[in-house]
């Protein structure tokens, strides 16, 4: 117990004196955490967009404008019984127009469809349980008839369309975007680790003679290491908190006011980690990395 107090006291010694090595460690941790805190949410949002695209792969069943309500209802029930169908959504003509409007950069274009005629048909949007089962569903909707041509299972069906051709393209684009984002995220995290490790290494190098002396007067490796780890932990904590303070400040003063006007920022998907959770993870990472980094780096100087 008194050991623990001693190690903590020792760990704080360099910080109390405001020694250059600990300050350098704090600065590096603060900056890398700040960068991660800014860039990770951006990467997440971009990755989220890619996922959205992937979700858009579906089978659409377009209906004649004169399809009756009962035809439509029967069709919906039938569709729900097809294997591999995850969900079916009915999209009315009005809904279709609204969707188109939402997806255009310039919604006015739709409003100006002259005479306000609505040329869009009603449809069913069918989500497959997997992107690969698109074909099965399509064939179930249009089993081959007597002459070998596909025959729709309901007279209400004007046309069945699956995005099978696009599917492969979209799947590959969305996965390349995601891989790309993952690569950048991995790069960022590796870079942060290297930067922090590098600084810790140099900060211990600056005190290598002291470490050597400690060894020579009979300190065990762990006796030397604990205070350094406590110091690393505290530096990580301070650096992380400084960074998170700056991030919160930036969020409140810059991002939040803008969030309304930029969809990119407001589009927080369920796949993205919530901001407070991210901050906690970063803080924990900073603390653990610098503590372990200190302990680990020290090995090199404990050979005497």
């Amino acid at each position: 117990m008194s050991r623990v107090i001693f190690f903590i006291g020792e760990g704080l010694r360099a910080l109390r004196r405001g020694a250059a090595p600990s300050l350098a460690a704090i600065v590096t941790v603060a900056i890398t955490i700040l960068l991660l805190g800014v860039l990770i949410p951006i990467l997440q949002t971009t990755g989220g967009k890619a996922n959205e695209v992937r979700d858009q792969v579906d089978v659409r069943v377009f209906l004649y404008d004169d399809a009756t309500q009962s035809e439509t209802d029967t069709l919906e029930t039938n569709i729900q019984q097809i294997p591999h169908v995850e969900s079916v959504d009915y999209v009315s003509k009005q809904q279709a127009l609204q969707n188109l409007r939402d997806r255009l950069d310039d919604p006015a274009l739709v409003d100006q469809l002259p005479g306000h005629r609505n040329p869009l048909p009603a449809s069913f949007e069918i989500q497959p349980d997997d992107i690969d089962n698109l074909g099965t569903i399509t064939s179930a909707l249009q089993p081959p008839g007597q002459n070998g041509d596909p025959e729709p299972i309901s007279p209400a069906i004007e046309e069945v369309l699956d995005s099978r051709d696009d599917a492969t393209a979209i799947a590959s684009v969305s996965s390349t975007v995601k891989i790309f984002m993952l690569v950048i995220a991995a790069l960022l995290i590796t870079a942060s680790l290297l930067l922090v490790g590098n600084t810790i290494r140099l900060s211990i190098y600056a005190r290598r003679t002291e470490v050597e002396v400690m060894r020579l007067v009979g300190a065990t490796n762990w006796f030397i290491r604990w205070p350094f780890m406590v110091e690393g932990l505290v530096c990580g904590l301070i650096g992380g908190m400084v960074a998170i303070g700056a991030l919160l400040l930036g969020k409140v003063t810059i991002v939040d006011p803008l969030a309304d006007s930029i969809t990119l920022l407001s589009a927080q998907k369920t796949t993205t980690i919530a901001f407070p959770a991210l901050m906690l993870i970063l803080l924990a990472a900073a603390t653990v990395v610098s503590a372990l980094g200190s302990g680990f780096t020290l090995r090199r100087f404990l050979k005497v």
Partner: protein, 277 residues
């Protein structure tokens, strides 16, 4: 220096009296505390610092190690605490070949050997008090033990009023004495002192030698490297002479009374070296 601190001195002398019989009677029965067997040290680059050095130092002895500059004295000291490993031959401490000690156990060895380094090797980020305290902290001494022992040790070397100075705020001689205080504060059974008086004036040197003598009388084996020929001559203790990495002299200079007490010893030294008390 220590002259004013009679209580500590009495305490030390008391201990010496208790231990004396054991260490006198059993001295020959136990293995020598230091033994070198044909120890050779060749540095990378080819310089032969020590060449087939063999010597034994028994428990409780007081030994001087002398020799011209660069003859390998510090190298020998460094081998005893395994800061350096011999290129050939063996180094035994208390009968054990220290090459066989695992890296993890080396701190244990070093804690039982107090070392005054030629270049002091102080902890620059700690003040005088904490430098000495560190030697107790590594052996897991309690806070109260540290609080009582550290000021004593510092008073004995005359640094009682410099407790809060950092090493770079000390004079050369003060740094040297700090290094000495750290070496003996945890009462190690073996004390190695590499030129402990190189930066000290004759009067203070005698005080330090007197201190080492007193520590020796409590049963601690003391090995002192020195260039102070006068001191060596006057102290009438065993002298090992090195030259060019070889032992060229090893004489247990006779005619010294084992029972001379510290005050008598100090008086005689001062007298013979022409210093008035």
């Amino acid at each position: 220096m220590a002259r004013s601190d009679t209580s500590t001195r009495r305490r030390l002398r008391g201990r010496a009296a208790e231990r004396r019989p054991e260490h006198l009677t059993e001295r020959r029965a136990k293995p020598p505390i230091i033994e070198l067997r044909h120890a050779t040290k060749i540095f990378p680059g080819g310089h032969v610092a020590l060449e087939r050095v063999s010597l034994r130092v028994d428990r409780g002895e007081f030994v001087f190690l002398v020799g011209p500059t660069g003859c390998g004295k510090s190298t020998l000291i460094k081998m005893l605490i395994r800061e350096l490993a011999p290129t050939e031959g063996e180094v035994l401490i208390a009968g054990r070949d220290i090459a066989t000690i695992s890296n993890k156990k080396i701190p244990q060895l070093r804690r039982r050997i107090g070392t005054v380094f030629q270049d002091f090797k102080l902890l620059d980020s700690r003040n005088v008090y904490d430098n000495v305290a560190y030697a107790l902290q590594v052996i897991g001494a309690s806070r109260s033990e540290i609080r009582s022992k550290v000021p004593d040790a510092l008073r004995l070397v005359g640094l009682g009023d410099k407790i809060n100075n950092f090493p770079d705020q000390l004079s050369g001689g003060e740094q040297q004495r700090l290094s000495i205080a750290r070496a003996f504060v945890n009462h190690p059974p073996l004390l190695l002192a590499d030129e402990p008086t190189g930066n000290l004036d004759p009067e203070t040197s005698i005080g330090i030698m007197q201190l080492l003598y007193r520590i020796n009388r409590t049963g601690t084996t003391v090995l002192v490297v020195t260039h102070d020929r006068e001191m060596v001559d006057k102290m009438r203790r065993r002298v090992i002479g090195l030259a060019d990495g070889r032992v060229v002299r090893d004489q247990s200079a006779g005619m010294y009374s084992d029972d001379e007490n510290t005050t008598e010893f100090g008086l005689r030294l001062r007298d013979e070296m022409g210093l008035e008390e």
